[in-house]
């Protein structure tokens, strides 16, 4: 597969999709078909493959894409800690903070007296529902709290409302969904934005093309390069 940039780019469907396509359009790519056809996965003429955000590191690490765009939340969830990198972490280069897709990873619980605090005091352990079990476990461990992590796939907000857990760890952009479900943010863990990642071999063997892409991305007004 070839493309104007000479690179295969993994593009995330979902919340980051629109901004990512705008970014590619800003680079002068013809993104019309990409916008219109949401069933097609492979856009050979522009060197783009589309997938869910959490699959982007997988395809990039394997070299099925040279570079990719995904959220920092995905990278943190799939990455290891500093001490177990190489065993847990994905082997990808993280090259650029693209600035968009800004969300905050929060710990939230039901409005009123914090049920998580009471659970910790009386039972010694809090139950936490999340789609990010590794991030949640790491945060609670680092803050010295015992927790039982309950991994859910769908709407995390449901879990504390049914009494299954006392708190959730989830990503929020505006906080509206939390509010509507009578949940309040208790702690902010980290801010997550879209990142450009690269396959380690492509980073060496296609160095000129990747550097050119970086240069052009840095030149775009949309990317607030950190």
């Amino acid at each position: 597969m070839s493309s104007p940039s000479g690179l295969t780019i993994a593009v995330p469907r979902g919340a980051l999709f629109k901004d990512t396509v705008d970014l590619l359009a800003g680079l002068g790519m013809d993104t019309e078909e990409l916008r219109e056809n949401d069933r097609k996965l492979l856009f050979e003429e522009i060197g783009v493959i589309t997938m869910r955000p959490s699959d982007v590191p997988t395809y990039v690490e394997a070299g099925a894409a040279d570079v990719g765009i995904t959220g920092k939340d995905v990278l943190l969830e799939q990455g290891g800690r500093a001490s177990d990198h190489g065993e847990g972490g994905r082997e990808v280069y993280e090259l650029l903070d693209l600035g968009y897709g800004r969300c905050t990873m929060v710990l939230a619980s039901k409005r009123g007296p914090d049920p998580a605090v009471e659970a910790l005091r009386r039972l010694g352990v809090m139950r936490v529902a999340t789609k990010y079990p590794r991030i949640a476990a790491r945060h609670l461990e680092e803050t010295g709290r015992q927790a039982e992590i309950v991994e859910v796939k769908g709407s995390v907000e449901l879990a504390p409302l049914t009494g299954m857990v006392e708190a959730i760890v989830d990503l929020t952009a505006t906080g509206t969904t939390l509010q509507e479900n009578n949940l309040v943010v208790r702690e902010e863990l980290m801010v997550c934005t879209a990142r450009l990642i690269a396959n380690p071999v492509a980073h060496k063997l296609k160095a000129a093309r990747i550097d050119e892409l970086l240069e052009r991305l840095r030149g775009l007004p949309a990317a607030s390069v950190g």
């Binding site: 690490e61 082997e91 090259l95 071999v201 060496k204 063997l205």
Partner: protein, 334 residues
């Protein structure tokens, strides 16, 4: 009834064994041609012996007790056992010493990404040959071996383990900040590296260099203006490169951000890439202080190839369908 085998291990059947055997036979002949003698060491070693080396992230992962209660570990590479052999069995031999090996090593990696927990390594160790000549010889053997097995498009990334630390010192990065910066680089997270530089209050030219230099890779032009800040490392890379015969030199890509995840490397480090495979095929480097930990102070250099990855790269090149081969026709890899 299916009887499982441990995660990260596998059975190798006759067709594949035959292909792998052809590769290892060719490598063995190539190593032998450069007068490297093949050795075997036990797969199990005393944990306390292996622990003398700083393995960082390639620590032995599997341990057992013997009947006397001693802790044994499955070796995670062959470099450390060979360092032990040299210090004990060759304690008074005149260097340089040349060894090669074909051996299974064991690592606690997370399987599923083509990484095995039991991996077959083929490699050499050149002991008692300092930089730059020793490094140049190792690179020459590496390239001759890969040429012999018929791998066509491979490249060798070469950096220096001391380069980034030297850069930090010469740009007066405060001691407590250095570890975090190096960790970000080891994780290949340049966004975090930038953030940490910013958080440490580093600005201007120093911060720019610390972020930009480790992202440089390419021909000798990337060495251009770092010589002042990391003079020794850059001189070392130049010296090695000048000693290489043209066919080997043109395989080399300088990579100023190259850091290996094994702690004992001291100088030049290298990794082998092929466009037919998304992961590295092997790597190596100088480990001038490791032998000293076993009681015989000798400079040394070596490399190890992951035979299964090499096999996959060869198959990928043959089919012409390697993942990263995708590129406009007739165009050279940058």
């Amino acid at each position: 009834m299916i009887y499982p085998i441990p995660s990260g291990t596998r059975d190798v059947l006759p067709q594949e064994t035959g292909e792998v055997r052809a590769i290892t036979d060719t490598l063995r002949a190539a190593f032998d041609g450069h007068r490297y003698g093949e050795i075997y060491t036990p797969a199990l070693e005393y944990e306390s012996v292996l622990a003398r080396a700083d393995m960082a992230e390639a620590q032995p992962a599997y341990r057992v007790f013997d009947e006397s209660g001693a802790v044994l570990a499955l070796r995670s590479d062959m470099t450390v056992p060979i360092a032990r052999v040299v210090a004990t069995r060759y304690a008074s031999s005149e260097p340089p010493l040349r060894f090669c090996y074909f051996a299974h090593c064991y690592r606690g990696v997370r399987p599923q990404r083509g990484q095995l927990r039991e991996l077959l390594q083929a490699g050499i160790e050149l002991i008692g040959a300092p930089a730059p000549q020793g490094t140049a010889e190792a690179l020459t053997v590496l390239c001759h071996s890969l040429d012999a097995v018929g791998l066509k498009d491979y490249r060798v990334g070469m950096g220096d383990a001391s380069l980034f630390p030297a850069l930090m010192v010469s740009l007066q990065v405060r001691e407590p900040v250095r570890h975090g910066l190096l960790q970000a680089l080891v994780r290949r997270d340049f966004v975090e590296l930038g953030q940490r530089l910013h958080d440490a209050g580093l600005e201007g030219e120093a911060a720019e260099l610390l972020l930009e230099v480790p992202q440089r890779r390419g021909g000798s032009e990337v060495l251009a203006d770092v010589s002042a800040s990391a003079a020794e490392a850059v001189m070392g890379l130049r010296d090695v490169h000048q000693l290489l015969e043209p066919a080997v030199a043109e395989r080399v890509i300088f990579d100023l951000g190259l850091v290996r995840n094994i702690g004992y490397y001291t100088g030049a480090v290298f990794e082998v890439y092929d466009p037919a495979l998304g992961a590295r095929i092997g790597g190596g480097g100088r480990y001038d202080e490791l032998l000293g930990r076993f009681g015989r102070q000798l400079p040394a250099v070596g490399f190890a190839l992951d035979v299964d990855q090499l096999h996959q790269a060869l198959a990928g090149e043959e089919r012409g369908t390697g993942l990263l081969l995708a590129r406009p026709a007739g165009e050279q890899v940058a």
